[in-house]
Every structure is written in structure tokens, then in C-alpha cells.
Symmetry: C2
């Protein structure tokens, strides 16, 4: 893979930005990568571990002369950051982001971008339950999807270069419109996270089962929930608040189905339960065939073995 | 580890029984292990892969002269199997089981056991999403908990030997009473499974998001749900029907919490969400410290890497 941009600026230095830096370096996709984080501690850590070629003390300095600026901050502050850097962007530069919600990010960021600067919103479908500048690694995006949001006004050359960058970092790229993205993610990510958070909260709060029991016997299923319920609280708060409508719609469908299963349990309707559980098994097979997980027996095991 | 029993009979040859066989052999815990499964196909497969020292064509034949008989069938048919073998059990033998629900299994099995036969119900907290005689492996129980159900009538020598067997297979053993077991498992296993099944069912059923989209973008969280929602449908139908009260109680608590979070999203109450998500992160740490999972970044990754 050859160089795609002369200079890339990463604003916000958490899991995604730090992984982007290592993936960009791995493939030599940029001449220089600058970085900025609001917190002094994060900037110090970044400098210490060699994250980014140059860490700047202001966002304006980081984006100066950058050909691509990627906003890697929580969805709720994307607009503020865009306002802060808008005046320092190089004419003809491209701004992108990695937010898990697209409509609200587009509405918040676009008004702050000057004429002649291109905006190509992106969302890499990859992550771990860890966060912060030290959590990144070059392989995070390998074999994962990155969705680019494109409409009739988007500059196609700018899209092509952002797409080349993500492919260079190991991802497969696809285009989608913002509203459909937000609905798809409400199903595949946002609602599952909310449900996992809820289940873990219930277990924590239960008087008659001790926390140590919950922890000891977590390999029976609960553990899989705690992994996703350990994700960054600020990021997830912002996701739910900014993808409110789609999340509430899917939650509505979820509780409807849950009540139907609950009634089947209460009424002893084994056939309903068996049919439902057989159907869900098929989806799992599809995911394995699509290369988004492996068939290695894992549930209840952990990787200590 | 030295031999615990001269002869062990495994009734039902799925994931747990086949793993028990390989774990028993690994440590030399029994002189001979016999096996029986209702299905001819399963018995043929077992013979082909060398599962059990001897596969019998009837349950009665398998349990004849056995010092320990372990019922490894779905919870809903435990009573039928006990009725079938009751007359063939050796005096002084111990019967155990591996069911995920204890109260109903005890009520179903006990009446069929003759005087002088001991009953030590057990539940190994281990599994994978795979099932069948070929899914077992010797390491399944290593570092996992096995709960033994003990009350004032249980024969303590019989408990000791069952405990020795499980420890020999790699498990840690703890005792619990049946009702508390069923509540703990409703929290850590049964309700999480029902919720995962529900979420996967919702995704499958949604008209505006295609199944291929759900599958492609599953690495964003959904995938973790499909793993547990791929578990054996018959086993899980029986679990929910036989642990009805505890599961419905926890489901009630779950929907209560879910509605509170849903309202926080609707009202834009970011503080409520952030506090909740911060609290759930702590539980994850406890699970890692307790050795029931590792801290390796996994969510959104898969083991292809």
C-alpha cells in the first residue's frame, strides 16, 4: 500500500485513533500523523508511547496543513470540536470522523466546515471493551467493515481517498446513507449494548444473590454481557442520546418480543420457545460464514485456556 | 489423580457427557465408562469416535453395575430417564445429573430412585454454543465451577466422591441449596440467554434492515449475543420451563431497569446513563480478577486474528 495523504490529523486519542495511527504506520499510508487530545494526561501518555509523529497542544495546531482531519471524539462533542478547528482547516482538506451515530454528527459538524473543505463521515465497525490511548493496536480494523456516509453532494475524489485509507488499514469499505446507518447500528450495536448494560446492572443490584456469586458463576452466559457492558461510558451515553429515535424503535420491538417469550414461559408453551431458539441458531451460522466470527467453542470458556 | 469409581455410566451423550468422558480419561478417574444415548445415530457416532469404553443400546444395560450414573439429558426428560433406569441401579450406587435447573430435576428424579441409592445433583457451570457427542473436549471444566446440591439427607460419602470426580476433571466444587442455585442461575445464565435469544430474533425479523446487513456489521456488539443464542434449543426450552419462577422474577427486574434506561434516553438524561454504565464496568473487572475471563481485547474482534 502506498501513501494516501501527506498529512493526517487525529483529534481525540482513544482506542480508535490510536489503532488508526498504528494501522497507518503499518502500511505507510501518511507522510506525517499529528494528534491532539483535550486532556494533558492523554497527550503525555501519547508522547511517552510514541503515539503519532507529533502531538500538538491545541486542536488548531494539529489540523494546520493536514490533508485529512479525523474526529475521533465522543459523538456528543463532535460539533464543539468542529467549531474549534473550522477556521484552521486547509482549503481543500477533507474532514472525517469515526462516530457510531451519523445523522446527528453530520448535523453538528457540517455548519462549522468552511467552503471547499470536504466532509466524509465514516464509521469503522470495530472496537474492544478497552479505551484510551494505550488500548490501540494496528490490527483492530483488519477484516472489519468501515461504512462511509455519502450523499449527492459528497466529493467523490475525497470519498475515494478516505476509502483508500481505510482499505490500507485493513478494513472493507461500504457506502450507506446516514439514516439507514443509524437504524442498522441501532439493531446490531446500540440496542445490544443497552440490553447488556441493563442485565449487568440488574445482577449488580440484586439483594438475594451476592456479587461474588454473580462473578464466580458468570461463565454460564452472563460473562459475555459484561464484556460489552464494560465499554466506555461517555461514548455510549452520547450514542444513545444522539441515536435516540432508532434505539427507542428497536427497544420497542425488543420488549414486544421479550413479552411474547415471557408469556410462553409463563404458559409453558415449549413449542414457541423451541421454534424461536432454532431460528436464532441460523443467524449465528451466517455470521461465521461471513467471517465475522470463528466457530471455535468459546462461550463459557474464555481465552485463558 | 487416582481412580474415584470403578464404573461410571453416562446417560445422554451431548457436549457435557462427551467432555466428561474425555476429562475422566485424561485423569484416570474411572475404571470403565459406559454410555447410552436414545438416538441410534448418536450411539453410532460415539462408537465411531471412541466416546466411552462401551456404548450400550439400552439405558438399563449402561447403568448395570455402575457405581456412578450421571444423567446428562435435557432437564425436561430427567424424570423419564430416572424411571427407566430406577430398577436397574446397583444397591449403594450414586446417581447424579448435570442439569442447569435443580429444584425441578430433584422433584422429577428422586421418586424413581430405590432405597439405598444416593442422589447428588450437580451442575457444572461450563459449556459452549456447540452440542452433540462430537462437541466435547477434556478441558471444558478446567477452572470452572461445579455446584453440588446438598441437603440434610444427602449421604456425605457419596458427595465426597462426586466432588472428587469433578475436581479430578479440573473443576472447582462448591455446595449450594437447590432454590438458591436456581435463582443464581436465573441471573447469571437463564435470563441472559433469553435476552440474547430475543435480541437475535428481533434482528432476524426486522423488515428495514436486511439479514445480510445484520450479519456483516455484527462485530459491533450483536455478535456476542448470537454466540449464546446459538445454544441447544431443546436444552434451553427445558431450562426456561423448569426454572419458570426465578426466570420470570429476574425478567421482571430486567424490564423495570430497561424501562428506566429507556426513559433516560427519551428524556435525554445523560447523567443517569453515564452513572449506570460506569457501575457496570466494575463488575467486568471483578470477573477478570476472579479468573472467569481474560482481559484480552475481544469484543468486536473474534479469534480469527
Amino acid at each position: 500500500m502506498s501513501q494516501v495523504y501527506d498529512r493526517v490529523a487525529l483529534i481525540g486519542l482513544g482506542l480508535i485513533a490510536s489503532s488508526m495511527f498504528w494501522a497507518i504506520k503499518r502500511a505507510g499510508l501518511a507522510g506525517e500523523v499529528t494528534g491532539f487530545a483535550r486532556s494533558q494526561t492523554t497527550r503525555d501518555t501519547a508522547r511517552k508511547i510514541g503515539l503519532c509523529d507529533r502531538i500538538c497542544d491545541t486542536a488548531a495546531e494539529a489540523v494546520k496543513d493536514a490533508d485529512l482531519v479525523v474526529l475521533c471524539v465522543p459523538v456528543g462533542v463532535m460539533g464543539d470540536v468542529a467549531a474549534e478547528i473550522g477556521g484552521s482547516l486547509k482549503p481543500g482538506a477533507t474532514v472525517s470522523d469515526v462516530g457510531s451515530v451519523k445523522r446527528q454528527v453530520i448535523d453538528a459538524v457540517s455548519p462549522h466546515l468552511p467552503e471547499g473543505v470536504h466532509f466524509v463521515p465514516a464509521h469503522p465497525i470495530a472496537g474492544t471493551e478497552h479505551s484510551g490511548p494505550e488500548s490501540g493496536f494496528a490490527e483492530l480494523f483488519d477484516n472489519r467493515w468501515c461504512l462511509l456516509i455519502v450523499d449527492e453532494e459528497t466529493d467523490l475524489d475525497a470519498v475515494q481517498k478516505v476509502s483508500d485509507l481505510w482499505k490500507g488499514m485493513g478494513a472493507d469499505v461500504e457506502q450507506m446513507d446516514a439514516d439507514h446507518h443509524d437504524l442498522v447500528l441501532a439493531v446490531t450495536s446500540h440496542t445490544p449494548h443497552l440490553i447488556a448494560y441493563t442485565m449487568v446492572g440488574v445482577a449488580d443490584d440484586l439483594r438475594r444473590v451476592s456479587e461474588s456469586e454473580v462473578i464466580k458463576y458468570s461463565a454460564s452466559g452472563f460473562r459475555d454481557f459484561t464484556r460489552i457492558a464494560a465499554s466506555d461510558p461517555t461514548m455510549w451515553r452520547d450514542v444513545f442520546l444522539s441515536n435516540k429515535d432508532a434505539t427507542l424503535e428497536i427497544l420497542g420491538r425488543f420488549t414486544e418480543e421479550l413479552f411474547a417469550l415471557q408469556r410462553a414461559i409463563r404458559q409453558g408453551d415449549g413449542e414457541h420457545l423451541h421454534d424461536y431458539f432454532t431460528r436464532t441458531r441460523e443467524i449465528r451460522r451466517g455470521i461465521i460464514e461471513a467471517g465475522q466470527d470463528t466457530d471455535a467453542p468459546d462461550f463459557g470458556r474464555g481465552k485463558a485456556h
